[in-house]
Amino acid sequence: MLDISIFTDHFGIYMKGFGNTIWASVIALLGSFALGTIIAVFRISSVKPLRWVGTAYVEFIRNIPLLLVVFVFYLGLPSLGVTLSGFVCGTVGLMVYTASFVAEAIRAGIMSVPSGQTEAARASGLTYMQTMRHVVLPQAIKIVIPPLSNQFINLVKNSSILGVFAGFDLMYYGDQVASKTYATFDTYIFVAALYLVLTLPLSFAALQLERRLAKNG
């Protein structure tokens, strides 16, 4: 039987980790969305150097394990004289990593907007950026919601990387509880349950949003 006292006795610790996981996720989510959008726009830009930067970013970051991306911030930056906490390194690493997947999802969405839309906007004298902002991206976002929500659900789960770098997240405190109580299985069941508390509503919200957007043609 699952020992509920593991959870109730360490409720404060669980909640501290849970709170930090939420923080890290929210920051990385917003950051990766903004960064990913910029990278996506670079990637399809008609300006070659921008396109090159975008493509290089996606191909490098996407094909490196998340753990190593965070390592760059955790172990690489100190050699340049910048030392950041595990929480910051984990969150920034997560943001940078997820941005490459977000960029690909958004790029696919942008490509699926008919070229006539861009032509109409450009022909009326709007700049490339205005065309993106007012015409292309609002349409792309609808197409992008399902793949993007997958990425954000992955992001919440991947935030457990913070545990490796003493980032005081849910996984980190879970490890602490497990090593203190030796009730490894029970401890991590509660950790998993708390991740579900975050990811299930996210899944559900994405589904709702998808349905609502589908309705207004």
Binding site: P114, G116, Q117, E119, A120, A121, R122, A123, S124, G125, L126, T127, Q130, H134, V135, P138, Q139, K142, N216, G217
Partner: protein, 242 residues
Amino acid sequence: MIEFQQVEKHYGDFHVLKGIDLQIAQGEVVVVVGPSGSGKSTLLRCINRLEAITSGSLIVNEVDVTDKKADINKLRREIGMVFQHFNLYPHMKVIDNITLAPMKALGVPKPQAADTARMYLDKVGIDDKAGAFPSQLSGGQQQRVAIARALAMKPKIMLFDEPTSALDPEMVGEVLDVMKALVHEGMTMVVVTHEMGFAREVADRVVFMDKGQIVEISPPEEFFEQPREDRARLFLNRVLRH
């Protein structure tokens, strides 16, 4: 107002425009006809640089379109374009479709842009649809919105790229009527179309293209009654028979 001189265009190996020479004066209505794949649409799309020309010279509104330093956005603000597939923005209401470019490209304040939009919607006969989304309109209504959208920029030139080709036959008339009204106001227009009746009625000159070349430029009565070129005669036989 528009001056093509020895304009060539290639898509890779495909030679789309060959030695195009064409001058269009202010207030003139030029209708471009010809078989599909003859380069009519490409010719039109070069005027606002949706397509870049490979060589030759093209001056529009005193702007050298080939000049890399030319302010192409400024040029485009003065040229309205209407597309075969309307290309309305599906995520915006009709009124917002029309006010977007005046607000963002010209900096017109929103209330004023909305007034102008309503005026043009009234002009194209669908002022009751301002709050609708494009998907709620018929093809003919959508194309009229697209014309209102282009006019709201107060352009000096209007380009029409097969504006009735994607319409059900019963809706062609309403769009052509709006275009005829524009002709009577003295708008400079370049129209690519298969509507021979429209060409005959309102064109100042008909340009016949085939295989990337301008084969014949004639006033409509001459073009339709006694075309000079065999290829034009052949084409007319085919399109006018039904």
